[in-house]
Structure formats: C-alpha cells, structure tokens
Amino acid sequence: MHTAAGVEACLPIRSDMDLVWVRQHVRQAAARLGFGLVEQTKLVTAASELARNTLVHGGGGQMEATHLSSGGAQGLRLAFTDEGPGIADLDQALSDGYTSGDGLGMGLSGARRLVHDFDIESTPGDGTTVRVTCWVAQPPRPREEA
C-alpha cells in the first residue's frame, strides 16, 4: 500500500536553508506513510531540533530518512550525522534545560519525547549520530505476535 518513493533520502545540513528542506522532506515522507497530523507535527519538530543541533553544534552534516516496514506497520527512521566535536557527557546533554550555548537546552531531550525510539551515539572528537524512529499508529486490534 505504501511505497518508499519520496520517503527515503539523504539530505545535507549545511545552512538554515537546509533546515527548511529537512522539515519539508520529513513532513512529506510522514504524510506519505500515513502518519496523522499530530504525529507528523511531532516528527517534523523533532527533526528540526536534531537538524539544528547537527548544524549548530556538529558543524553540519546530513539526515538520512529510511522507510521501515514491520509486520504491516509503517515506520520512518531519521538519522542525523555529523563529524563535529561529539558529546562528552550524554546524560548531561539529554537533560532538560542543559545547553552548552545560549539555547533553551530543550532540543535533544524534547525531541526524544516526541518520537517512539531514540538512539544517540557520540564519540568526542569524532562526531554524533542521532537516530529517531516513529511508527504509524495502528488501528487497535489484537496483535498477532510470532
């Protein structure tokens, strides 16, 4: 039913213009996969936070969007990668209100709340990758596992 066309992409994040493209792509991809309006808004907002971190803290990088499909459920995974300074203390970076700059410090921790799955890998000196995944809400019905 759903195709990956217009969903999978790799976009550069080098300027605030690119942030606009990232948001537009995520919005479009989420709509294609059947995400509802609130879920789309959450995903685009999370993507905007993470892409801005890639740009501002990571010195630029890219976002890769992947279509996931599992047992008939549609999902969207977004991976934000940079080769910037990395994050020495992940717990600190993920706490509400922590910022090393003059932001609000809500980007990382907030984005984590907006998605179903959140994963961060960072090596000081090497860079940072943040992966988030969201699944389209399934209509309530008994799950057939196994």
Binding site: S15, V20, R23, T41, K42, T45, V56, G101, D102
Partner: protein
C-alpha cells in the same frame, strides 16, 4: 543560538500597523534568519511608532520548534520593555500538543485562539497601560 549562519536569506515578514497595534502574520516554514530579522524589525517599529500592542498570527505556521518558540518569547519580552504587549494568536492544536511535549510551554507568552480574540485582548488591556494624554506621536 549561534550567529555563524545568520547570513541574509530571502524572506521577509511584513509588519502591518492597525491603529495602536502591529499585526504580523507568519506563514509556512520560516528560515531562522527571517525570524530573527522579524524580531529586530518589530523592536524598531514599536519604538518608532509607539504602538501598545503586537499581534502575531501563527495560524498558518505548521511547526514551532525551540528556535521559533524562543524568538516569539524574545519578541514578547523586548516588546514589554518597549511598553507594548504581545499576543500570539491562532496556534494550531497539533503545534500546541507538540510544544507541550517538547517541554516548551513559553510561560511569558500571552495567547489567543484567533486574531479577533487577540485584538480584543489587546484593546481591552491597552488603555490601562496608556498614560492620560497623547503620546509623542504626530497629532
């Protein structure tokens, strides 16, 4: 917020004056630099015109992230220092849900459900802030 990428980018938000209120309508997806430019424009326009209210219509805005949220909060704060009140009107329900979950409740912002309601809020409250007698505007 780093200045490293605040180079000029196309996009300019018009500021309309309606009597004692500046009306700003935000639409679609804003560049960071466009939002920052608006922030500056508003401060200058408030101080030049002496208006007592700023109404920002965000009904056409699909997402508000921490950057835009912060710009809105800063606009309200700077307007207050310039003796003007700010009302943000027309936030979409999906945006409100997302902002609350993001943890950005923007306590300093006054909101209204529509521009009409926002205008009413501003016109009700403005006289209390206005000293008797004319301000230093051309008669």
């Amino acid at each position: 917020m780093s200045d490293a990428y605040s180079r000029p980018v196309p996009g300019h938000v018009p500021v309309l004056r309606l009597g004692d209120v500046l009306l700003v309508t935000l639409q679609g997806d804003l560049h960071d630099s466009t939002a920052q430019q608006l922030q500056q424009d508003l401060a200058e326009t408030i101080s030049r015109t002496g208006v007592h209210g700023v109404l920002i219509d965000i009904s056409g805005v699909e997402i508000v992230d921490s950057f835009l949220g912060r710009v809105l909060a800063e606009i309200a704060a700077q307007a207050k220092l310039l003796a003007a009140r700010t009302v943000v009107a027309g936030m979409r329900p999906a945006v409100a849900i997302t902002l609350a979950e993001l943890g950005l409740t923007l306590p300093g912002l006054t909101t209204a459900l529509s521009t009409e309601a926002g205008m009413e809020l501003l016109s009700q409250q403005t006289p209390a802030y206005r000293p008797r007698g004319p301000r230093q505007e051309s008669p």
